[in-house]
Symmetry: D2
Subunit: 385 residues, 4 copies
């Protein structure tokens, strides 16, 4: 092994992902002054384009930092001293989010499942019965460190029936699968996953109820980078920005949205689903195991593969990069060194990238485990999926 790591030929991670070429071109557009009326018009048009494409009830808020900013700001802005939060935890990210929810709330309860399983409507109904005062339910849609996806639409109905607000982290699923915003009060996502942009922005789609709730929250940040409220009217040409927006990132988002609309969201979701199906079929045919306890739990935008006994994840990923130029993601926290993850997001959400990932995975894994692994079968299964 040489001292220098080999540059990636294929970045098949759960993000940052490869950007679309249209996005890379757009990042190099001239940078405007934020009070230039031409830029203000652009920002308004971009915000309305976002609303139209997302089908959002109000104009989405763009925050000027990658989605962890959106998530922290959403928690700080929405959750107030009168709120009782129920945090749904099916993985590392959902669990961690509790740390941002709890300090702002009157109380926080958790509904936990194993990290290879998902939150079901029945479990949620029971939890709401146990915590009847719940005013806000928080959900991590795709808990990326596990590659598992929760049944958002069904859970949203349960929350709505209860009358609570639903706050969703859909950072790594939005844009790669259908998300209906009708029953979601605050959805946090970013353009840097399935939309194929670099990290640097958050997008928040907010219901009218959630706006009212934030405005009534005496502790909601104002005059801070953590404020959502400050940005309420910033989309309007002529209205001031709370601070300077990230112009180049916005140019990239603009190109990404145009591209997404031109290809057609349904077509984009379909190839994400096909790629994930190919990956899962290939993993199983190769002789490895999915992390998800049931295949139906596995996300359409990333596939988590359980590491065989004794295989070190760092050794595996190093070999994949060194010998095949393929970069994939590790686990995080409790899933670290128990699984590896292949992302299918944006420009790499095509089945051929599953073939590439399976090929590199097979080559590296074969040197680290005695378990018999079948490459030909894996690829044939992937292509037949």
């Amino acid at each position: 092994m040489t001292a220098d790591p080999r540059p990636a030929l294929f970045t098949l991670t759960t993000g940052p992902v490869n950007c679309y070429p249209e996005v890379l071109s757009a990042l190099g557009r001239p940078v405007s002054y934020d009070y230039d009326p031409v830029f203000q018009r652009f920002y308004q048009d971009l915000s309305l384009k976002l609303q139209r494409i997302m089908g959002a009830a109000t104009v989405p808020v763009i925050l000027q930092g990658e989605p962890v900013l959106g998530l922290e700001a959403a928690a700080a802005s929405l959750v107030g001293p009168g709120d009782h939060v129920l945090n749904l935890v099916s993985g590392v990210y959902g669990a961690a989010y509790g740390g941002w929810l709890r300090p702002h709330a009157a109380s926080m309860a958790e509904l936990r499942v194993e990290y290879d399983r998902i939150i079901t409507p029945d479990l949620l109904r029971q939890a709401l019965r146990d915590h009847p005062r719940t005013t806000i339910v928080a959900l991590c849609h795709h808990d990326t460190p596990s590659g598992t996806i929760n049944p958002l639409a069904e859970l949203a109905e349960v929350v709505r029936d209860h009358g609570a607000l639903l706050l969703v982290d859909s950072v790594s699923a939005y844009g790669g699968t259908r998300v209906d915003l009708d029953l979601i009060d605050m959805l946090v996502t970013g353009p840097n996953k399935c939309l194929g942009c670099p990290p640097g922005l958050s997008v928040l789609a907010i219901s009218a109820r959630a706006w009212d709730h934030m405005k009534a929250n005496p502790a909601a940040p104002r005059g801070s980078i953590l404020s959502v409220l400050d940005w309420e009217n910033a989309w309007q040409a002529g209205a001031p920005f709370p601070f300077t927006p990230s112009i180049a990132e916005l140019n990239g988002l603009d190109a990404a949205l145009d591209r997404y609309a031109a290809e057609g969201p349904e077509a984009v979701w379909a190839r994400h689903a096909r790629t994930a199906a190919a990956m899962r079929a290939g993993v199983k045919a190769m002789g490895l195991d999915l992390w998800a306890a049931e295949e139906a739990f596995a996300a359409p935008t990333a596939t988590a593969i359980r590491l065989p006994e004794g295989v070190d994840e760092t050794a595996l990923r190093d070999l994949m990069q060194r010998d095949y130029g393929v970069v994939i993601s590790s686990g995080r926290g409790e899933t670290f060194n128990r699984l590896v993850r292949v992302g299918h997001m944006g420009p790499t959400a095509w089945p051929m990238y599953a073939v590439v990932a399976l090929t590199a995975l097979h080559g590296a894994m074969s040197r680290l485990t005695a378990r018999p692994l079948r490459l030909g079968a894996a690829i044939e299964a992937a292509l037949a999926a």
Copy 2:
């Protein structure tokens, strides 16, 4: 006048500024996975390059949002319940910063001067005598809404003599004029002004004393976008990032630093100074007044021009953009509609851009005031400055 504003030909603002072409090209580089070892090496090299070019005592911290993030995070991280802050206020930004300092401190005092004047060492000495318990002094180096620059080096000596820590906002001066970090404990800047990058990152140069102070601060944020401490070791290849860095912006910063070093900081500062001198000479020869009470108070990176009685700043800037394609900046807060500002930052810090600004300013101003204004004299004075 048409409904559509005319696109800017010359963005001569106090920021966002035009980017250098090298930066625009670099923004379109492929986006790497942040845990790709090649990227981690890049991030380490970039951080060390930043330290070398800045002459910083420790490896500077890059925060992933434009400098308002850096400023808010610096205040929250450095200032703790045991601190007595003296905030030096010579303008709108200095005054506003008090709002981020005060909530974290045991107490905060202010030293205020008129917004067309500067903080002098004598005033500061007196203030420290009045507030002997002061542990932290906060200074806005170039208070952009006034276009005035405080004598940083001399003030820093006074602070050091007192034994307090010095926290400096040098967002819109750093890179356009000499800044010696030896006596500064925390300097917040960003690549989006004189370095010619888009807005999207903050840079913090931090003394060893300031690191110790932050670590001893029980209220310093952790696990938040406002945390500085979380990023202490992030520059080291192999160390984890607190969250995903803004890869494209970092690529731009890398190109900007290379460019800055290749031209030579002294040469860069010299052309900023020459451009500002040209602008001031031109403004005076034209028959207008500088905002700064004394010319020596005027910044080398922006020039604020006092509006003649009865001239509306919006009308003025609209005419300049419509008829000449020249975009300049308005005042802010107390200086709004009392002055306009021409930035000389990065790629537009060349005297010819002062000629462009003066030409457009003359053309528009002549239609809004009866005061006699001389264009030829202005340009000749600018070129002779």
Copy 3:
């Protein structure tokens, strides 16, 4: 003066010119295989867009080299052993073109005027009476080394009345001023002047008569880079290319055409005309002379300024670049060291660039001649033009 020349801040030449930002972005688009059906569709769409925007009778031919290729290929393809050519010479480029026309023709006559004058319809009528067998008339529309423009529309009527074919070099005028193709049989231009692209392509608009004439020409090149005929059907998706087209340049042209159409050709021509008028007014008010014997002869896309006695053009241009960052063009051949030229093409065709050029010209010229030169008057005249 340092050893290193100073990088240009303002490239105000007669070409290569600054490119539009949209073009620079488009040059970085991914490069397709030329037999990829998606590319073939793109090439067809681009060719038809070119026809629509130009108002051409047939689909224009794109040749894969800067316009000297187009000019040499046009001469070789159109002019055959049965042709009697009349070459109209009002400048260096028109004269030089005779060298490419004569070898292919049965005979070639020339109509010559002084290089600060233009070809008039009367002169042309007389020349055609003197050379009644003329089958092809060749005209350089804007003879760039003189900055003079011939009255294309009127001359075209004279040629049509005679029955000859009209071959026009409009490389440095097309896109910056109105050109009606109805009476032109072969117009050669390129995207690298007023359309704001880099040099690398030629565009030929060809009448049905000219196609017939080329096809009947037994000496017209085939199987050569000089062949126009080989490209007749290349625009059709599915038809083969004679050789690989210059993909990146075509991407740039595509963006340039979109930009041209979006701004509106009339608006583009108007700002070229305004900029040239500003430049001429400024030159005269400064105390210098236009090269053109009458102002009406001066081109809308470049302004030639007569050098005062004893002023060396190289010294002048070196000073302008060194001290102001402004790059302009020299004369060529017979006009070398007798004039200098300022281009107003594409992105620099705005009056403020005339101010920039006049400022630098004044500054440098003042050091090289004792003639009194007035800067203020020049700029005021330019802005009033």
Copy 4:
């Protein structure tokens, strides 16, 4: 099948190829005036860099059009009325080149082999004995439509022993395999194949003998795009260009050379060889046949695969693009519909791209032939090669 062809995900053709990201970024650099001294310095540095990297005896000439221009210009410039040419024909391109050599020569003989075979030193020696007056030998190094590579170094020795000049078309091999220029008098290549640039330039490496021969050639073009002689001194800063060079393409070439030198030519050649070896092993293991009569004849930069009886090449390539997003090349002329070709050039010269090509080839071919084809075996063989 939809009406719209599907955009390529993988362009694995024999050119145009994908460009390196560094090249795409460089294409968007600002465009300079060609008489700007800074550009002239750049052009000189670039030319000398090219000489150094190529190991050329004289400064290589850059012609401003893709390599067909270089090939036509080389023939027209080098071959004169006193020359007896021996054209070595092992494929379609070698044969076609005769059409550009013959018209300029006193005589032209051909040495022909079947298009799946190569020219051997013995055959060449015999041909030179048969044509002892031969003054120039022309060789197509890699006859791309056959994917076969001639033994350049050995043939060059035979030519040198004879005393003739050797003119080599190495367009699609240079940069992907070792080429020693010592015994080559004129090598024509281009940056648009293994160097990973877009098409638009030719590069000619020329021996001192060949310069003398061209200068002594009374028919060598001058004042034409076909002239090589015109460009002899153009590389020198301060010397005029015969016409405007293609600035953006030169910027791309500059970045490509830097990248090539940084990776190291030996490393670049090695991965081209490994990828071709992987492809050949995979093709054979799949159950298909190489076009080359012997595997040793197959090129390191492209692999030609013989089409099974009854398989239509258009149907095959359409399926590969539609269902896998993989674009490969067809045959040309005599090889059309008898083979397909996968390029391994520049950024796609990595074995994983052979896996991608084999996967798509298998998927499409399986639907067009009853021949049993093994995907797993193919990929395993490719990876083991």
